[in-house]
Symmetry: C2
Subunit: 197 residues, 2 copies
DNA sequence: AGTTTTGCGTTGCGGTCGCAACGTAACACG
DNA sequence: CGTGTTACGTTGCGACCGCAACGCAAAACT
């Protein structure tokens, strides 16, 4: 990345702007996301935002990408904290619990994710990366279930679908304040009990 | 065109406008919901919309109420179709499957519900009715599980949380096109297998 | 040194937004 | 028959929107 008139990490600026977008979206929803608003949150001029994103849709798509990478990183870190070769059940429980919106930072991320979910539901062309993400997670979870000695009669692929759906649903309900973190975690553990011995 | 200038069913008009709002939201998301747009969809002037809803927030809140009542009606109808005293497991499976976005009309409703979920996540003051709704469902499901002879070791309240979360998650994933209806229904049945004999 | 390229700010245009204000027509009621 | 009330329609204002256009400074290349 050499030889450009000004030495600026293009991608880093885009990321910084996208993070401002995510902050705005986490607080007031995606409908509050405008070029000027995001620019103000990022502490730059709206002209600069337009310099790094030719269109708003482009900015949105990039922000969605940032969200995905961020949660991927977070999950990987949580998994790494368990040390090498953790027991599958413990791994899955840790990863899922890590994503659940149980404290404010995680709730903010959850609100952003929910907003983008509704966003992609109406713009199918932007939903592809999310689909790929879930497919990867599905394969990973199924593999871990297989490796963890599931109860007899448990189909790992089916169980993976169930576990991820449970995670999503618990997240949504937690965000809505329908019950507290303990209730959600208890339900998670009870579900894991039905998969593993 | 008959004489009605004075004698008008206030609530019926509000509902008709709200339904137009839901159609707009289902197609283009909540951010496309504006007074003029909703008015056009409803085939009335924007002035009339303002006559029935003093503010946009008021219109939103009413529309949310309509969504809730509508799904409540739909669920009750599905339950009634099973005749008197249906087996709890069959009841629960029918009700949950009824709500899953497996065909276009249900997908449209699902998109609306998802949009409002993201909406209330950022406007906590509008989330109360949703919370009450889930609480009622939770109680109903737990009671049905209790009545259906759950497997030993199953706590009905915990299981109710799990089942409703699974339903929510399967719905979201179906909306995103992450897998097809059969996969979701298989996961649902597998989950019910872990609750009942 | 001069040219080019890039980074970034400023301005403003056409459009849409929520909403208040006002006008009007048809009824209800005295 | 006049008066108030309800049910709309119309207009327009101030704010905000995305985005194009243009200007300019500074760094890189020749």
């Amino acid at each position: 990345m050499w030889g450009m008139p000004k030495v600026v990490d293009h991608n880093e600026r885009r990321t910084r702007i996208a993070e401002a977008l995510l902050r705005v979206a986490g607080e007031h929803g995606l409908e509050a996301v405008s070029l000027r608003h995001v620019a103000a949150e990022a502490g730059v001029t709206s002209g600069m935002v337009q310099h790094y994103f030719r269109t708003k849709d482009e900015m949105m798509a990039f922000a969605l990408e940032v969200v995905r990478e961020r949660s991927e990183t977070r999950i990987a870190a949580a998994a790494a904290d368990l040390g090498p070769d953790p027991a599958p059940r413990r791994l899955l429980r840790t990863v899922v619990a890590e994503v659940l919106p149980v404290d404010e930072p995680r709730r903010a991320d959850g609100r952003v994710a929910l907003a983008f979910l509704a966003y992609t539901a109406v713009r199918p062309e932007a939903a592809a990366p999310l689909r790929a993400d879930t497919a990867a997670m599905l394969a990973f979870v199924a593999e871990r279930i297989r490796a963890g000695g599931p109860r007899p009669g448990i189909d790992p692929d089916r169980a993976a679908v169930g576990l991820l759906a449970l995670m999503e649903g618990l997240g949504v309900h937690l965000l809505g304040g329908h019950y507290d973190a303990r209730t959600a975690l208890d339900a998670l553990d009870a579900h894991l009990d039905t998969i593993f011995e």
